[in-house]
């Protein structure tokens, strides 16, 4: 763990790099006093020697400090390159000069400890502050977010693309096969979305129970969970209740769909999906803790969602086409989790969450990405070559340059969680845009099928 407290020698080494120093002490009147001086620093001897400021008595009977502070002004923006360091000790007089012998030091340099990680490591301090404020006022004082932002954050709403893509694609394929019902299509989308929101929230609940989110000090916009429990924005109990509510709502819609379009295939898919969703982080299976999260996500957000949406429309009739179409979607959605686990790996390891990036080294993890993304595109090409998927689905190959950007960004940013944020964003786009292009392909199939039924859309 990187800490802000420093060994005095290290503190003085850092202090020596500043062009001047701020000498601080508490004066006879009890007020602190600070004056800029130039100290001659000898880290090896643990000393800083300086001429005291004129007309201001610097005490030698108590601890004083020397601080170095730096920013780089950025007009129209503010500033950056923040760093500061302070060393404490007592001073003794040596002729005209004072010699401070450092006994302790602390500091922060945002190039060594990024601001976001520094903030995350300070969450405990914010909790103590709110606890003290609550005790002082005799009523709970908590951090807040507006309801809209809170819902967005707690449920990780933007990740719903993982559900929308396969469900709408399954509906589109069914429509291309002549089966479409608007009411059940909308119900499927809502029910599946509730299931994912339940999973997202339950994932935070179980990760909090098992300490995984607490141990992660490098969360990003795409990884590390919603953190609303850790930040005190929502109680653990309320998050658990929210997860249960989403699951109940999803199950209720599932029952309605079974009543309207019941089939053995839909029942099986619903039950398997529910079990995988719960087993993802919940004991005893905790699939994601065993390095099986990617498989669970691939199955859940690939074939189960896509084929599930398909069979709702067809009333249970199955076909190879939605199954094969779900393979690239499954692999690309699994890669979202896979890449997002890279910055979380230290916290995950600390919490016993043995994800694939925890189990394997950098080269193996990047190779795993490469092989999986190639498999996703290969599945598509093979599906078309075998005449299972329509030719326009090759449009999804247009996302290959994005996937290459992910590949190229992984190695240089592997140990930099904040540098990885841009890579994670592109990786999410690969899945989303591939899904959108597959949808566009099926729109083409529908339009061509309606306007020019004789035009061949499959390689036969």
């Amino acid at each position: 763990m990187r800490r802000l407290s420093l060994d005095p020698v290290r503190g003085l080494e850092k202090l020596a790099r500043y062009p001047f120093h701020v000498l601080s002490w508490v004066d006879a009147g009890g007020y602190p006093m600070s004056v800029a001086i130039g100290a001659s620093i000898s880290p090896g001897a643990r000393t800083a020697t300086f001429v005291p400021p004129a007309g201001l008595p610097v005490p030698t009977d108590r601890e004083i400090s020397l601080t170095g502070s730096h920013i780089r002004p950025q007009p129209g923006y503010g500033y950056d390159e923040r760093r500061h360091v302070t060393a404490w000790g007592r001073a003794v007089r040596q002729g005209e000069a004072l010699v401070l012998t450092a006994t302790s030091a602390w500091g922060w340099d945002e190039q060594e400890l990024p601001f976001f990680e520094y903030s995350e490591r300070s969450v405990g301090q914010s909790r103590r502050y709110f606890d003290a404020l609550s005790a002082e006022r005799g009523t709970p004082v908590k951090p807040r977010l507006s309801p809209g932002w809170l819902i967005l954050r707690a449920t990780r709403l933007p990740f719903l693309s993982a559900t929308i893509v396969p469900v709408v694609l399954g509906i589109a394929i069914a429509a291309a096969h002549g089966a479409f019902d608007l009411v059940t299509a909308v119900l499927t989308l809502i029910g599946a979305s509730f299931a994912q929101l339940g999973l997202n929230v339950a994932n935070d609940v179980f990760d909090s129970m098992q300490g995984a989110d607490e141990a992660n000090v490098t969360p990003t916009r795409y990884s590390g969970g919603s953190r609303v429990i850790q930040y005190g924005l929502v109680t653990f109990r309320r998050m658990a209740a929210t997860a249960a509510t989403f699951y109940v709502a999803a199950a209720a819609i599932g029952l309605v769909l079974l009543a309207l379009r019941g089939s053995f295939a839909l029942l099986t898919i619903g039950v398997v999906g529910f079990v995988i969703s719960l087993a993802y982080t919940a004991p005893p299976l905790k699939l994601v803790y065993r390095g099986l999260g990617e498989i669970a996500v691939a199955v859940g957000f690939g074939p189960l969602m896509l084929v599930g949406a398909y069979v709702v429309q067809t009333g249970g009739a199955l076909s190879w086409e939605p199954v094969v179409a779900s393979i690239p979607i499954a692999l690309l959605v699994a890669l979202i989790l896979y890449v997002n686990e890279i910055p979380d790996r230290r916290g995950d390891e600390h919490a016993g969450k043995r994800t694939l990036p925890v189990r394997f080294g950098r080269d193996a993890v990047i190779l795993g990405y490469d092989l999986t993304v190639v498999a996703a595109y290969a599945a598509l090409v093979i599906g078309v070559a075998l005449g299972v998927l329509p030719i326009p689905t090759l449009l999804a190959l247009l996302t290959i340059p994005l996937a290459y950007r992910v590949h190229a960004g992984l190695r240089p940013n592997y140990d930099n969680p904040y540098g990885l944020m841009a890579v994670m964003a592109v990786n999410i786009q690969v899945h989303l845009f591939a899904g959108v292009l597959l949808l566009a392909a099926y729109l083409i199939v529908l339009v061509v099928g309606a306007l020019a039924p004789g035009v061949p859309l499959f390689i036969r």
Partner: protein, 159 residues
Amino acid sequence: MSALPEPVEELLEAALVAELTVVRADGRPVTYPLIPLYDGERIYMTSSVLFSRKLEHIRGNSRVAVSITDPVAVGGRKDRATIQGDARVIDEDPHGGWERLLPIWERKEPAIVAFLKQRVALPLFFERALIEVTPRRAFLWPNGLTGAAPRVSNAEGVR
């Protein structure tokens, strides 16, 4: 009504960063770099609850010093100044109470408004307290020459 000498006020208006020095319970001084915001009477600083140790120190001992020492942070001005004063932590509403200082803050750090719009990304950073410093004495070193005795003035007119 202005309580501080004009050159000190100019430094406060210009400074992107000042050093706030507070006194710990064990009597040691602790120095924090913070943006000084000046309303013509009092000096304000804000602190996120994430980095709220300084607020605890101020609650224990309200005597503080604000120094402006870095020529780079004051646009090349050479004067240096330190203001001793009494601080008060204002945190009745950590969520939004501090936002009344946003216009002055934005003048020094324009990016803060854009950051605030992304509050959802870093919610605890924007749970903040105000530190209100009532000046008592000001020390000015013209041209930043701290080898010479400072000009000392008592801040008057501020209660």
